[in-house]
Amino acid sequence: MTHKTLALGAAVVAVLALPALGDTFGPADVQKWTAEQDAVVKQGRALWTDGKLGTNGVACAQCHPNAANTHPETYPKFQKQLGKVSQLWEMVNWCIRNPLEGQSLAADDPKMTAILSYVTYERRGVKLEPGKH
């Protein structure tokens, strides 16, 4: 009995001594995660302005300065040219294949993640309007 109580007490102390419980985090955590996010956005901007993403030297930013006219807040939406509700990465791949004359990226390719992170960052603050035309 006494041993059991002591063991329980020790367990409680051990848990309380951990830096954070499962669903709590502090400013240091946020800082770290934001830095990770910013780095990926920066990679995305680099890919967006790099003529090497495709094969002909054309960069996304040539037609989409600051990723304008990409409307990330409207996706997924019915894309009339594809005849179905589509995601933004499908449109990014369309541009990589056509104006950039390159190869599609996988939806979860880290490069695609970086590109979508950048595009969405440039559209920050705009309200979501899925399906808008």
Partner: protein
């Protein structure tokens, strides 16, 4: 003269097997009552951005835009008096790009006059361009109108000196949204030249000024902007009829500032978003401007095009030829004293794709 005074006549030969009837016919709007001596037409092609890939390979999409404009322009009947090219023939001002662009332009029938763009300039301060096309600023007279061509894409010495060479300058200036770029300017030397050039021109003589960047301030982030625009406007102020035509923006814009009417011209290469579609910075797009339809990215020529310009009684009417879209005409309205779109100016007559966001 109101748009109602305009009459139409067949303009392009619709008989071309090359382009097909879906592209044509196009109509010319001519001001009724104008005497032949005062009324004439010229064509305006701009922003082809011929881009070298490697060897003898150039970006197919941009090549096609210029080839199409040249072919359509050659179908105009009656012929335009001359053709203007509004700058950014090349992408990185490489000799091979300027050579290839000049070769494509050489297919045009009739005289061609050139405007300098930043994509033609920064690799070598426009040396190769000048070797091919001549002076970077000049003037000429045609049927009672005084035409002026300016090099409006110069910039300040501090920025110029920041970079080791032309290649570095061109790389920085080529990115429209690059924060390392620098605002354009006409500069003191050309402003002095312009004053002198206009000194002997009667204030009643209609003036048409060609620049690459807008001689008005619209959106600094993308250099839809000329730093000394107001100083140039001041020089143009004493003249009764002044029209400024500019490229660079790859979209339809028009405006009226005092006595000066502004019309942009389209790119043959690709369209640019309107500044309001960048959510992070305010824009000064003229309220008068009714935007072009948003481009369909699956149709590579959409929202690109070329234009022909009627000059009647010293006022400009710009006809924008847009593949698989209706021709847009923006003409000076004497009653309103400003350019108006003949079809879409009224808010109720606009199309859904003209809402840019």
């Amino acid at each position: 003269m109101t748009p109602d005074d305009l009459k139409r006549r067949d303009f392009l030969k619709a008989s071309s097997g090359l382009l097909g009837a879906s592209v044509l016919p196009v109509s010319l709007v001519e001001l009724a009552g104008a005497t032949p001596a005062e009324s004439f037409t010229f064509a305006y092609i701009s922003d082809s951005h011929i881009q070298h890939v490697k060897g003898a390979q150039f970006v197919r999409n941009w090549d096609r835009g210029l080839m199409r404009a040249v072919a359509e322009c050659n179908l105009m009947n009656p012929r335009p008096d001359f053709v203007m090219f509004g700058g950014d023939l090349a992408q990185l001002a490489l000799p091979q790009e300027l050579d290839h662009g000049a070769q494509l332009l050489s297919g045009l029938k009739g005289p061609v006059r050139m405007v300098m763009g930043e994509h033609d300039y920064y690799a070598d301060d426009g040396a190769y361009w000048s070797k091919l096309f001549g002076p970077q600023w000049y003037s000429f007279d045609h049927k009672g109108v005084h035409f002026v061509v300016l090099n409006s894409i110069l910039t300040d010495k501090a920025w110029y000196d920041r970079w080791p060479d032309g290649k570095a300058r061109m790389a920085e200036m080529a990115g429209l949204d690059n924060p390392n770029g620098s605002p354009f300017q006409v500069g003191a030397e050309q402003r002095a030249w312009l004053k002198k050039d206009l000194a002997n021109v009667s204030k009643d003589t209609p003036i048409v000024v060609f620049s690459h960047s807008p001689l008005q301030k619209i959106f600094k982030n993308w250099n839809f902007w000329t730093d000394d625009a107001e100083l140039v406007q001041d020089i143009l102020k004493p003249f009764k009829k002044v029209n400024v035509l500019y490229g660079h923006v790859h979209q339809i814009q028009y405006n009226q500032i005092g006595n000066i009417s502004f019309n942009s011209v389209m790119a043959t290469a690709w369209p640019w978003p309107y500044p309001q579609s960048y959510a992070q910075a305010p824009s000064l797009l003229p309220k008068l401007t009714v935007p072009i339809n948003r481009a369909d990215p699956f149709f590579e020529r959409d929202a690109t095009g070329w234009q022909y310009i009627d000059v009647a009684s010293g006022r400009v009417a710009a006809h924008y030829l847009l593949p698989e879209n209706p021709v847009r005409t923006v003409a000076f309205d004497a009653k309103k004293n400003q350019p108006v779109d003949l079809q879409y100016q009224d808010e109720k007559s606009r199309t859904l794709p003209q809402n840019h966001y």
